[in-house]
Symmetry: C2
Subunit: 191 residues, 2 copies
Amino acid sequence: MSSALTLTERHTDATQRLILSSAMDLLEHSGVPDLTVRAVAKQAGMSERTVFRYYASRDAFLDAVAAEVVRHIGTPPAPARIGDLPGYVRPLYTRFEEKSALVQSALHTELLRRVRESVAVDRWRAVRDLIDAHAPHRAERDRSIAAANIRYYLAASTWHYYRFHFAFPLDEAIACAETAVRLALEEIGRE
Amino acid sequence: MSSALTLTERHTDATQRLILSSAMDLLEHSGVPDLTVRAVAKQAGMSERTVFRYYASRDAFLDAVAAEVVRHIGTPPAPARIGDLPGYVRPLYTRFEEKSALVQSALHTELLRRVRESVAVDRWRAVRDLIDAHAPHRAERDRSIAAANIRYYLAASTWHYYRFHFAFPLDEAIACAETAVRLALEEIGRE
């Protein structure tokens, strides 16, 4: 945007940081059903026009917010070895728990699709690659099922379901997910 | 409500049926984010006041709508024998599919909690009873994990996730759920 180019790099960065941190504040503390540019601008103490100086459209704005949500949640990287998948549940769910308000906001707003398309897709691809390398002797369909069922237990949606619909304590939610992941791995490893 | 008592039983029934069928129309065809008495009254061609003659409050109204949603979705009864649990996935998911718009409305509105508290709780209790009878030799915690992981795959949320987030065809979603249920049953049946 041409008007943004007249600002110094330093000022641009500071304003963008303020916009994104204001969005995080809203998502973490207000449980907003829809994240509007208006609400973020108000939270940041600036005009909507200023926000749109940095983001050409509402879509571009939401993309930036989703990327910031991913960075803030900061889930641990998917394991590189298949045997580490069940043990990955605990640090993952612990992180969801630490960032509970933000994760729930991401799950319940239009940010969900955007967040899924970034970090979740990477995690899912990593799981599928591990399964394919681990069980080349099994049919494609069986590997697809195992990978999907493992991915499902590594999703924030699943953490949320066990914690809030089943109302399980975190340790029990983790035990459920570890069990499901372990069973899927045992099954796909069979001859 | 005293004013309702002045109506004949026949008229009461017809009006209530109209209110509830108008609510179903809205949920099935309009993808409403929130089901309001105003929108239902408009759809039914009556005043909000008339709706409130039958339902003392918005809560009572939503309870009635949730009961009607459950009746319309009409999921098959949970199986009476543990060996029938994996095979229960297909008729259940097929029914979710047939009533897809209504199920998705139920999942994404404030009806969710109400629907879960009726039909879902019954289904869940049935699963837990089957597991307890099947594996009395296993620790309570292990039975709780197995029952939860099976319940999770019998939830409309899971059907929805596999169909719309994984974008799996129905048959593949069913295969995933059947596999997960079968593995949980095998595990809990071990000595």
